[in-house]
Amino acid sequence: MNTTIIEKDGKYIVTLEGELDTAHALEFEEAMKPLHDVTEKEIIIECTELEYIASSGLRILLGLLKSAKARGNKVVLKNLNDEIKDVFKMTGFIDLFVIE
């Protein structure tokens, strides 16, 4: 599981790789913490290489979305694979997130 965050043109681009299971959730949560402090930015989460996500990972994304909304940030999820999209559908997250 790899999480990289780069800032480019005033946007944050988060690239997720590998499997986001519960064992890696804590690590992921830590990695994402800086994004909770930004304001009025677009946060793009690039998921092309994300193979798997457990509910623990979903919870971290939900936490990010809630704080982003409070701080005027915009969160966009990009290139979810079909299985992850299904998970988003099952949980109703598909309606909460901007997914491109």
């Binding site: 959730a25 798997y52 979903l58 809630k66 949980t91």
Partner: protein, 731 residues
């Protein structure tokens, strides 16, 4: 809609009412017309009789009057006959006659020609009244030759008294006079003169009209030639002028033929001026021949009683019609009320039918209910005694547990059905997240007790059969314990009665449990079975039930229920069903599974162990050669349940383990997770609402939601201090 219909009905009713009234009115009018016709005939006949009689009486009166005149003259005749030799004394004789008879207008003695040669050819001494005085003189025979009068020679030659035709008084044209001529004889008996007495005919008129049959009736006296001798006082003639009347009578051709038959001739007339109708009767009685006597009657008066009767009839008819209208109105109203009541009953019946359908739709409808399963055989039936009933039963499977219930609400019909519906929905809603039957019972009981003003109560039995293990937990609330059929053995399930629901809200319901052996049949029933009564009011009873069930050990659930129903129907026969009959039979038929793959791993309750778990799951799915997507789904589901156990089964910092067993065959892949932590039933967690907004979404609750979505079934049991969770997926 309803209003239009009512208006329409009222219009039809009004039309009918009017038709009845019109018919009644016509009938009454016809009746009245017939009555009138006969009454008129009767009156007419009476009139004829009375008039005839009246005419006779009047003729007699006239005759008496004339006889009186003759009698009076008879006295004077002697006087005249003695005075014949002294012609000049005749003057005083005439004077005396007038003096002595106030009714006489005057008199004269007309000698036959040449009786007194010295007096000339004709000699006629006279005395006439002129006011209060009497003039006595010699009639001017030069001017007026009395022998030229038609009756003179007639009377002389025939030696008969004779009444002249009426004539107008030459001195007073308003007076009609008649002259009575009486023959005077000389000693040899030869007629030598006629004594003529002039009488004012009005005198006879007064006698004639002294009284009439009707106020406007009057009588006339006509001479033989039809001239009016006398009639009523002109002031008393209300209608047609007397002259016209006389003319009409004289015009009548009938007069000639009928006037001497002794019977009156009747002529109808219409008054020229006022159109008043009337009838004239005239007759010429021999008594006063050749005079004719006439009576004039006016229909208005003749038929006055009839008209009065008719008026009274009309008033009575109107009153009758009003009464009839009132009666029709009242009966129409009661008909409407009856019709409304019928419509209301129809509507109630329809609504009851709808209610019955609704109630029946609440119950399981399709059998077999679980065609995909081979571990259950279920059949249920509810036959309500009334349109809607207070019995209920239901069952469903949630997380590999069969939830079933049977109940009977006290009372019948609508109130019972309402409580039944409430109980049913409470059962469904509480057991959707609660698997503990006593807690389900408590939940329902609390709700039922709340505001149970009508003190309805419900006997209820709830069973929760764990299908993988056969462990059945149950709770009874005053209901008949189900019967258990194991081979040839039929016995009631040992079930504590507890208290019926709806009585005490804090009642502590006791749960019981048994392991149901394979092939066991559980038969649930309401007292509609055991208390079904035949015509002798004897109950079907438990004994008979057990006997029937003993013969049913090989029967399917359907056969069993139908057999039992038939037996009860036959027993009840023609008797009115007294209670709903509800039966539910459940046969538990678990199948032993054989596995081609069986593996396990034991993990510490530490989420960092998820990596090992995922590797384990991956190795299992790889061995089963599942597609990547399916593998990931299964991996996610297993991770979610395991993480759930790690997070919730153990109190923080307490070390524990989770055993993960995987088993598979060609059909399915099953994971069994066992831990020794505190009792934790993830299936009882209420489902996360996926429709909430971001702000309202809780962070937790997603795991179990995902598991339910990803796997085919999930099942939890707490057995021997261990949480056992099974999840299964068809592969």
């Amino acid at each position: 809609m309803k209003k239009t219909q009512k208006t329409h009905w009222t219009a039809v009713g009004a039309k009918t009412s009017v038709a009845i009234l019109v018919t009644a009115a016509l009938l009454m009018l016809a009746l009245s017309a017939v009555q009138s016709y006969y009454a008129r005939k009767e009156i007419r006949a009476n009139l004829e009789r009375n008039t005839e009689l009246d005419l006779v009486i009047k003729a007699q009166k006239i005759k008496y009057s004339l006889d009186a005149v003759e009698a009076a003259l008879q006295n004077h005749i002697d006087d005249i006959e003695q005075s014949l030799p002294y012609p000049d004394s005749l003057f005083s004789v005439t004077r005396r006659i007038v003096e002595q008879n106030p009714d006489f207008d005057g008199c004269c003695i007309a000698m036959i020609p040449d009786y007194y040669p010295e007096k000339g050819r004709l000699f006629q001494p006279c005395s006439y009244r002129d006011g209060d005085t009497i003039d006595t003189y010699l009639y001017d025979v030069e001017k007026y030759d009395y022998t030229q009068i038609a009756y003179f020679y007639f009377a002389v030659n025939n030696d008969t008294a004779y009444w002249s035709e009426p004539y107008l008084d030459p001195d007073d044209s308003s007076t009609t006079l008649v002259t009575y001529n009486f023959p005077v004889h000389d000693p040899s008996g030869r007629v030598v003169a006629l004594l003529g007495v002039d009488l004012d005919a009005a005198w006879l008129g007064d006698i004639l009209n002294s009284h009439g049959l009707f106020p406007s009736s009057y009588n006339l006296l006509l001479s033989g030639k039809g001239r009016l001798i006398c009639g009523p006082n002109p002031a008393e003639v209300k209608h047609q002028d007397v002259k016209d009347m006389v003319a009409m009578i004289n015009d009548s051709t009938l007069k000639r033929s009928l006037s001497h038959t002794g019977k009156s001739t009747i002529l109808a007339f219409i008054d020229k001026e006022d159109g008043e109708q009337g009838h004239v009767f005239y007759n010429s009685p021999k008594l006063i021949a050749p005079w004719q006597i006439v009576t004039v009657n006016y229909d208005e008066e003749v038929f006055a009683p009839l008209i009065q009767t008719r008026r009274r009839n009309i008033v009575l008819t109107l009153i009758g019609l009003l009464i009839l209208a009132f009666i029709i109105h009242r009966s129409a109203q009661s008909i409407y009320r009856l019709r409304d009541a019928n419509a209301e009953k129809q509507r109630m019946d329809n609504e009851m039918m709808i209610a019955k359908n609704i109630q029946m739709n609440m119950l399981p409808e399709t059998y077999p209910p679980f065609p995909d399963r081979n571990d259950l055989d279920i059949y249920g039936s509810l036959v309500p005694a009334k349109m809607v009933g207070g019995d209920l039963y239901d069952f469903f499977i949630r997380d590999e547990k069969l939830y079933f219930c049977i109940g009977d609400v006290s009372g019948k019909s609508v109130p019972a059905a309402l409580v039944m519906a409430v109980t049913h929905s409470l059962f469904l809603s509480i057991s959707s997240h609660e698997s503990h039957p006593a807690r389900i019972m408590q939940g329902i009981n609390e709700s039922l007790c709340r505001g149970n003003e009508s003190n309805m109560f419900v006997t209820f039995f709830i069973g929760v059969l764990d299908l993988p293990t056969g462990l059945m937990r149950y709770c009874n609330a005053g209901h008949n314990p189900p019967l258990i059929i194991k081979g040839d053995l039929v016995e009631p399930l040992p079930a504590k009665a507890n208290l019926s629901m709806g009585v005490i809200d804090e009642y502590d319901y006791m749960m019981q449990q048994i392991y149901v052996e394979p092939e066991t049949m559980i038969v649930l029933y309401t007292d509609g079975l055991t208390e079904a009564k035949n015509l002798d009011h004897k109950q079907f009873g438990l004994e008979k039930t057990l006997k029937v069930l003993k013969g049913c050990h090989d029967a399917t659930a359907t056969q069993l229920v139908q057999t039992l129903t038939k037996k009860v129907d036959a027993y009840v026969g023609e008797a009115e069903p007294s209670d709903d009959l509800t039966l539910l039979a459940i046969r538990y038929t678990p199948k032993e599974e054989s596995w081609t793959l069986s593996r396990s791993i034991t993990l510490d309750n530490d989420v960092s162990q998820v990596t090992e778990l995922n590797q384990f799951v991956q190795s299992v799915t790889e061995e089963l050669q599942l597609e990547k997507a399916l593998s990931r789904r299964i991996k996610l589901a297993v991770e979610e349940v395991v993480v759930n156990i790690m997070n919730y089964a153990y109190v923080a910092d307490v070390k524990g383990q989770v055993k993960v067993e995987a088993m598979a065959n060609d059909e399915r892949l099953r994971f069994i997770l066992t831990d020794s932590g505190r009792a934790f039933d993830p299936t009882a967690v209420s489902r996360a609402d996926t429709t909430l907004t971001l702000e309202d979404r809780p962070i937790g609750g997603l795991g179990i939601l995902l598991v339910r979505n990803l796997m085919d079934s999930i099942n939890y049991e707490r057995i021997d201090g261990q949480n056992i969770l099974r999840i299964e997926k068809k592969i």
